[in-house]
């Protein structure tokens, strides 16, 4: 005990100005020893270390469990706002590329509607708007979900509803089979005029990549939640009606140099990531000024 006190005292002693060389290093060593010397019995310390380790591991593991539980919990407070669909004349251009559709599906069948109608169903805004924004996204991309749920409503209110912007949602499903299936399902919903509602519902139910959130069963359940004609919706999904159009759209994205989502084309100006509404507004106003 006396030895420990002595060391502690040494550690607290302020340095003298006239020490011999090497004394400072010796004092450092003493201070370090004093600092690490336990006033606990040797039997107690390992026990306390074991307890601290156990507690640390348990708290860390509990946080992991809470995180997984939180992710697995279904989304709550779903509010859907119907969005009017207006027309757009642009047709998709297909280009070759390595994007592959989800495997193990039934043979696809050709869609009845024209390419123009195909895009009209997921376009909002005045057809004569001076600015056209194309958003390329993936349903499993968290940044796309964040953008769609937090910024898109403001963009729509400020720029689409005021006739400044015509907005087109474009699919670039590159994150795996569930991205592809979700895109196909969204087009089946678009056929019934509910593309934007369905898109929003999918984003509200994102749960990591290819973990089953957008399995065929869940996609059918979302359609039922929106009150879609289930027979038609299920038939489109089962027959892979929209597989080829989605594949063509993904290839078009590649041909345009899209390699991240979300990617926006504001007229011809390309931006990646999640821009603020203010930043988008600035770019929109720039384009409007340029068009005058």
């Amino acid at each position: 005990m006396t030895r420990r006190s002595g060391r502690a005292r040494d550690a607290r002693t302020p340095s003298a100005g006239s020490e011999a060389p090497g004394a400072a290093a010796g004092r450092d060593k003493l201070a370090e020893k004093a600092a690490i010397t336990p006033a606990l019995s040797h039997g107690q310390w390992p026990l306390m270390v074991a307890l601290a380790s156990l507690l640390g591991l348990l708290v860390g593991a509990a946080m992991m469990v809470l995180s997984l539980w939180s992710v697995a919990m279904p989304s709550k407070g779903v509010t859907l706002v119907a969005t009017p669909v207006s027309t757009v004349g642009a047709a998709p251009v297909a280009a070759p590329g390595p994007v592959q559709a989800a495997p193990n599906r039934e043979q696809s069948t050709p869609i009845a509607s024209s390419a123009a109608t195909f895009l009209e169903r997921r376009t909002v805004g005045d057809p004569n708007a001076p600015v056209v924004i194309s958003e390329w996204f993936d349903f499993q991309c968290p940044a796309c979900g964040r953008y769609a749920l937090t910024r898109e409503p403001d963009l729509e209110r400020l720029y689409v509803d005021t006739g400044k912007v015509r907005y087109v949602a474009r699919h670039f499903p590159f994150l795996g089979p569930e991205s592809f299936l979700a895109a196909e399902a969204s087009l089946a919903a678009a056929e019934q005029g509910r593309y934007w509602d369905y898109r929003r519902l999918l984003f509200q139910n994102q749960k990591g990549e290819n973990l089953g959130a957008f399995s065929a069963d869940n996609l059918r359940r979302f359609a039922a939640e929106l009150g879609l004609d289930q027979a038609t919706f299920n038939a489109r999904l089962d027959q892979a009606t929209y597989r080829d159009p989605v594949l063509a759209e993904a290839r078009e994205a590649q041909s345009l140099g899209v390699n991240a989502t979300p990617t926006f084309f504001i007229n011809n100006r390309k931006i990646e990531g999640v821009p603020t509404v203010e930043r988008l507004g600035q770019l929109i106003e720039d384009e409007i000024a340029r068009s005058r």
């Binding site: 420990r4 502690a8 550690a11 607290r12 290093a25 450092d28 060593k29 201070a31 370090e32 004093a34 600092a35 690490i36 010397t37 336990p38 006033a39 606990l40 040797h42 310390w45 390992p46 306390m48 270390v49 601290a52 380790s53 507690l55 640390g56 591991l57 348990l58 708290v59 860390g60 593991a61 946080m63 992991m64 809470l66 995180s67 939180s70 992710v71 919990m73 991309c141 968290p142 940044a143 979900g145 964040r146 937090t150 910024r151 994150l175 994102q206 749960k207 990591g208 990549e209 973990l211 991240a260 989502t261 990646e272 990531g273 999640v274 603020t276």
Partner: protein, 144 residues
């Protein structure tokens, strides 16, 4: 490593970790993705469902952890003997829990999200360094 360095390395690393975690937490609340040099990984990670636990941003929990580490780490610089040992053990337990959770989050980034957030990797590295330093201190106390 001399005594002064041992004592001050922990609060310095904790301050760095606090800055990183607080920055990520603020960006999460504001809704901005962390700057990532044109790579979308930071946004993908910070907007993923794993970035929150029942609505509480993980970065905010990290901020609390690092604030506690900084406070205890600074307190430890002024203590010796039993108080120093106890502070060291508290820091070690806290950092170990943080390191376990960080390892899980890094695995999620690599194997579930397939995206890396540089800010999160920096925080995981700081946590690992702290764990090594504090494990060393705990071992030194045990060996007298």
């Amino acid at each position: 490593m001399n005594a002064t360095l041992t004592r001050w390395t922990v609060p310095c690393l904790a301050a760095l970790g606090l800055g990183d975690a607080a920055y990520l937490a603020v960006l999460h609340w504001v809704g901005e993705p962390p700057p990532c040099g044109g790579y979308s990984g930071c946004a993908d990670v910070n907007y993923s469902p794993f970035a929150e636990i029942f609505g509480i941003p993980v970065a905010a929990l990290g901020t609390l952890l690092y604030a506690a580490l900084l406070a205890i780490g600074l307190m430890r610089t002024r203590t010796v003997g039993v108080a120093w040992s106890r502070a060291t053990l508290s820091l070690y337990g806290l950092v170990l829990s943080g390191a376990v959770f960080m390892a899980y989050l890094t695995a999620v980034e690599l194997f579930v999200l397939h995206a890396l957030c540089y800010w999160c990797v920096a925080l995981a590295t700081i946590t690992l360094l702290l764990l090594v330093l504090l494990a060393r201190d705990v071992w030194l106390v045990g060996t007298g």
